[in-house]
């Protein structure tokens, strides 16, 4: 439940996978709305990226707890110590509702906390903080983690890296857009059209990371079989 069969190397692979290869913005295209609307300046993009990273990581952990102790299949078996046999109650139909409520509540609490302890940051983020609640990427990261049934630590690594990946993508597009204000592009493509094309190109570029498979869990040693395969090779020369 905590680590599962994942080794530390698997965790590193998982981090690379969710940050670069299956970047939640450039591969799954989640979180596009705020990405397109707020990526004009690098400074605001950084603030937004940081906020999304924090919310995604922590709400991802909270939602893991919700899934494993409330809404998953057979998740309520911990209630047996109170005498109620709840192992067969399946609350999975409430999952979406509880996830989004957890995220909304968490963002609300975070807003209050930031306002109290870092007012400058609160002013900088301005209206973006409540918008994060409806950021597809945050709910998306929780949903993907649920579907893939990660244990606790891999789940934490996954949602944190997904948040970092989102931040990376928005920072990249903001820096490109800042430079693009001086470029000569057709009038019809100004603004959104060009951003779309650029994002598509960036998405294609990120696909170049494919193939780093450190997060695959290998339980069997495949070397002995490789040796046997080598012995079979010479037979190829026998032609009938």
């Amino acid at each position: 439940m905590w680590m599962g069969p994942y080794s530390v190397l698997n965790l590193l692979g998982l981090a690379i996978q969710s940050c670069f290869i299956q970047n939640i913005l450039l591969f799954y295209f989640l979180g596009m709305c705020s990405y397109l609307a707020c990526s004009n300046k690098l400074k605001t993009s950084n603030g937004l990226g940081l906020a999304v990273f924090v919310v995604m990581s922590l709400s991802g952990v909270l939602n893991w707890l919700v899934h494993n102790f409330i809404t998953g299949e057979g998740a309520l078996k911990w209630l047996t110590f109170t005498g109620i046999n709840a192992a067969h109650i399946n609350l999975s139909f409430l999952e979406f509702l509880i996830y989004i409520s957890v995220i909304a509540a968490f963002v609300q609490v975070l807003e209050i906390v930031i306002d109290k302890f870092a007012p400058a940051l609160y002013r900088a983020l301005g209206m973006y903080l409540p918008l994060i609640t409806v950021n597809c990427a945050i709910l998306g990261a929780s949903l993907f983690a649920t579907v893939r049934a990660y244990p606790f630590v891999p789940n934490l690594v996954y949602v944190a890296s997904a948040g970092l990946g989102w931040w990376l993508a928005i920072a990249l597009i903001a820096s490109i857009r800042e430079k693009l204000t001086y470029s000569n592009i057709p009038a019809g493509l100004h603004g959104m059209g060009m951003t779309f094309v650029m994002t598509g190109l960036m998405a294609l570029a990120f696909m170049g990371f494919t193939g780093i498979a450190l997060d695959h869990i290998s339980e069997t040693d495949t070397y002995p079989l490789l040796v046997q395969e080598e012995q079979v090779q010479p037979e190829q020369n026998v032609k009938f």
Partner: protein
């Protein structure tokens, strides 16, 4: 507009929230209850179809098969009867009935012994749920499906020689894990069929592993690689079907490894490697069971 300027006290807000939550929960609970059985049936039907396709009892167009000819299900007898000239799509109800009567879920251990879930001390539902993600090959008790012959339900018993076996296969493709079923004949060597029921590969490239044209190549291949002389050393031969980079004709010609190889998919090299390793790593731990099943069939 009525309501503008109306003061909302904390009490009213709380009441509103409670009523809203209660209403939503009520609607959803009723809906979930009503839809629970159709959902379970849909899931079972999907799994049954994939498994029956791997066992060559169902074609990819959802027509029943009996020894490679089209068949239809006779509800009064409870068996399949051949209808070579008629291609009748199988009814969902019949597929589920056939699955329930002819497919037995068992576990096998490291000595090749076949046990029921009760005999192994396992709860079937919990076992299937807990190990669905990482696969069954490396557990002390490994899941195996026994496919019983085409007989009326009252004539079926666990002691009969099976029609075949289905082994669950899992591994990693390019993007995510891949899960499938491999159907074997009673000799536990020749392949009946192969299906992939859960994969997230690139459509058009690696995603082609679910296409019937590609899966049909697995039919009649052998999982125990033959030695050059044509015999099979069940204890030591490499186990698995190899997906080659180009075509089997080019790579192996007519040599012994060709009977355990299929053509590759252009542009899907990582998925293909994933399939190879999935087959190898999933079948390897079943070797004692496969040898024992083969001997059982050979002695009859």
């Amino acid at each position: 507009m009525a309501g503008k300027g109306q003061q909302f006290t904390s009490g009213k807000t709380l009441l509103f929230v409670i009523v809203l939550c209660f209403t939503c929960a009520l609607v959803l609970s009723v809906l979930a209850d009503v839809l629970r059985q159709p959902q379970l049936d849909a899931r079972e039907l999907y799994k049954s179809k994939q498994l029956l396709r791997a066992a060559a009892i169902l074609s990819d167009e959802n027509v029943f098969l009996l020894n490679d000819t089209f068949a239809s299900y006779d509800r009064s007898k409870g068996t399949l009867i051949p209808t070579p000239s008629q291609k009748e799509r199988a009814r969902d109800r019949d597929i589920l009935t056939l699955f329930e009567t002819r497919i037995l879920a068992r576990v096998t251990n490291d000595t090749g012994q076949v046990l029921t879930f009760e005999q192994a001390g396992l709860d079937e539902e919990a076992y299937l749920r807990d190990h669905a993600k990482y696969g069954f090959a490396n557990l002390p008790y490994k899941l195996v499906y026994i496919v019983q012959p085409n007989l009326p339900p009252n004539q079926l018993s666990p002691d009969l020689l099976p029609y075949g076996y289905v082994i669950p296969i899992n591994g990693y493709g390019l993007w995510d894990a891949i899960y499938g079923y491999l159907g074997l004949k009673a000799d536990a060597d020749t392949v009946l069929g192969m299906t992939w029921y859960d994969q997230k590969e690139t459509p058009g490239l690696g995603g082609n592993i679910v296409l019937p044209e590609w899966q049909n190549q697995f039919k009649n291949k052998v999982i125990f690689q033959k030695s050059p002389s044509g015999t099979t050393d069940y204890a030591r031969a490499p186990l698995g079907i190899k997906v080659v980079k180009t075509t089997v004709q080019e790579t192996y010609g007519k040599t012994a490894p060709a009977a355990s190889a299929v053509d590759g998919i252009a542009g899907a090299s990582i998925t293909v490697v994933g399939v190879n390793e999935a087959l190898r790593n999933s079948l390897g731990p079943y070797r004692p069971f496969l040898i024992q099943a083969h001997q059982q069939e050979a002695s009859q």
